[in-house]
């Protein structure tokens, strides 16, 4: 049974169409990723599902409760971790959870135990009586995750849960998220523009661009839709036609003196390919990532308008590819 259902969900801000007619069905227990560049409509979509943003048209329900007609019931069923930190830094870690427990009407009898449980889950029990302002970025995020799950929501929304954290901390946060989703049996809907991370965590991803979901599938299926791995070869006088004729090659292109070949199972067929081409100066193999899928679908890099850039060769090649296509 779908725990989140949306039907033609739409939000306009004046003339700007932030979210255009989104239909989603997210199953109970799923970790679902909403991927897209800044301004694609991810946060607005989550906002509507959490009843913070009022939809212009269409409908959405969470665990059978309509977000427009029964916002109070929806609010009790969802937990949210916002993109920007929203901890009360004047309170201690435990007090933050206490405040939240009261706001969500968790009875006094089970409050203490539940708070302890969540603190343990995110390994903050030893720091729980320190003011949140003394916490590191990663600890603050963990406390927010604990807060989001405190009232046992059916769905936990995470808006860019690892934004602004260093890579090591990011990896740990994802571990916590997976662990929490498992122990609590919570459905998780997250947004991120760290594609590599999304493909490790999410069971399914929806790619959103200009307010529309343009593709929705498992990360593996999406990567398969790319037609195979990409091999970039530097060679003098390439015989493109000959390469194209090979049975395992699905696409060939020349770009700035480099030959880009999309092929299936490169680990098996590469020796044969190189035997056909000869005089190869260099070879680079790229296994497709979700980022490549994104570029193929939108013609843009997901991080294009973002300040962050890993600077890795993956991005460089991605940019390069994008220019070529």
């Amino acid at each position: 049974m779908a725990i989140i259902k949306t039907l033609a969900l739409t939000k306009n801000y004046g003339k700007i169409e932030a979210v255009r007619s989104i239909d989603l069905n997210i199953e109970k227990g799923e970790i679902f990723g909403l991927l897209g560049p800044n301004g694609a409509g991810k946060t607005t979509t989550i906002g509507m599902l959490c009843t913070i943003v009022r939809p212009t048209s269409g409908s959405a329900s969470i665990a059978g409760c309509d977000v427009i007609k029964e916002p109070a019931r929806v609010r009790r069923k969802v937990g949210i971790v916002f993109q920007d930190p929203t901890l009360d830094t004047v309170l201690t870690g435990r007090e933050n959870l206490e405040l939240h427990a009261r706001l969500y009407g968790i009875p006094a009898a089970i409050r203490g135990k539940r708070i302890m449980e969540m603190l343990e889950l995110v390994d903050l029990q030893n720091r729980s009586n320190d003011l949140a302002r003394t916490y590191s970025g990663g600890m603050r995020r963990r406390l927010e995750l604990a807060r989001g799950l405190l009232h046992r929501p059916a769905v936990l929304f995470l808006d860019e849960p690892t934004l602004g954290l260093d890579p090591q901390t990011r990896a740990r946060i994802w571990e916590y998220i997976k662990k929490m989703a498992q122990t609590e049996g919570t459905t998780v809907v997250l947004t991120t523009h760290y594609m590599e991370e999304a493909q490790q965590v999410c069971g399914r991803v929806g790619i959103i661009d200009h307010g529309r979901i343009i593709e929705l599938n498992s990360p593996d299926a999406l990567k398969e839709s790319m037609g195979g791995d990409m091999v970039v070869i530097k060679v003098k006088e390439p015989k493109l036609e000959e390469i194209r004729a090979l049975p395992y090659v699905s696409e060939v292109r020349e770009n700035d003196g480099l030959v880009e070949i999309i092929m299936k199972q490169s680990h098996l067929h590469l020796p044969d390919l190189l035997a056909h081409i000869r005089n190869v100066e260099s070879v680079e193999i790229r296994i497709p990532t979700l980022n490549d899928v994104f570029i193929k679908l939108t013609g843009r890099d997901i991080r294009e308008d973002s300040v962050e850039d890993s600077g890795s060769w993956v991005d460089t090649v991605a940019r390069y590819r994008q220019r070529g296509s």
């Binding site: 959490c50 009843t51 913070i52 109070a72 019931r73 609010r75 009790r76 949210i80 916002f82 920007d84 930190p85 929203t86 901890l87 009360d88 830094t89 004047v90 309170l91 007090e95 206490e98 405040l99 939240h100 009261r102 706001l103 969500y104 009407g105 807060r147």
Partner: protein, 254 residues
């Protein structure tokens, strides 16, 4: 509205109040400065002016004691309310606003939190009452009641303004064009009698804070223009209007 719903909302009011109280306890320097400032008014300003001035045969320091109490309520309450601009900037409010508690309950929790802060400060200042020989200690409960209601009005007003402003730049404006005029036109520092120019008397009588000062002065010094019940009615009415206005603006706040 079921009983369960009401209980949940009350728990929400309590949660917000509890948060404000925790913050109040932690900000000791703020409490100290909020006490020291009125004491400076009383002892430095009061003694200075009092050296050559007395009002209705009462020593000037004693005369302005009720006025300074009202000033404390004014500044403390309005700034407490305005502080939500800062809370919003730091996104502290965001997590609270998304909870399954109505905006009205959150607003009530905030108002009660602010009133608690201010009332505790007033109680501390009442501990110094023995330094002012003309002050009648039996009038303190009556004075406290009036100051508490005034605080409801002014915290609500601060929250109403805070809901409208997006940045802290409005603080200076509010302080110059609202708080100081309310203070100077309240009769906190001078008697409202026929020696005042007519235009000033008019403005003073329009100022709701005048009735707080008058009521408190009546309770503590037996010097008053209006009967206590008039002061009480005016201040309560002011509080009701501000509370309704504040809760509406707070509910509409983005």
């Amino acid at each position: 509205m079921g009983e369960k719903r009401i209980r949940r909302e009350l728990m929400g009011v309590y949660a917000v109040w509890w948060r404000e109280f925790k913050v109040f306890q932690r900000e000791k320097s703020r409490i100290v400065s909020s006490i020291v400032q009125p004491l400076m008014w009383l002892f430095l300003f009061g003694s200075g002016v009092g050296a050559s001035v007395s009002v209705s045969n009462i020593n000037y320091q004693d005369y302005i004691y009720p006025g300074i109490l009202a000033m404390m309520v004014l500044f403390g309450s309005v700034f407490f309310g305005l502080y939500i601009v800062w809370d919003r900037k730091l996104d502290v409010l965001k997590a609270i606003l998304v909870a399954p508690v109505s905006r009205l309950s959150i607003f009530m929790g905030k108002v009660l939190g602010g009133c608690t802060d201010v009332t505790l400060q007033i109680v501390i200042l009442f501990c110094f009452a023995f330094l002012f020989p003309s002050v009648n200690p039996w009038g303190i409960p009556q004075a406290l009641l009036l100051l508490f209601i005034t605080s409801i009005a002014l915290v609500s007003m601060g929250l109403a303004l805070g809901s409208l402003f997006e940045s802290l730049e409005g603080f200076q404006l509010i302080s110059s064009f609202l708080i100081f005029p309310l203070f100077f036109l309240s009769g906190a520092l001078f008697p409202v009698d026929d020696k005042l120019p007519g235009w000033l008397t008019g403005l003073v009588k329009l100022n709701p804070l005048t009735y707080t000062v008058d009521g408190v002065r009546g309770a503590l010094l037996h010097v008053n223009i209006f009967p206590f019940y008039v002061d009480l009615i005016v201040v309560t009415f002011f509080a009701a209007v501000m509370f309704v206005l504040g809760s509406i603006l707070f509910s509409r706040m983005k």
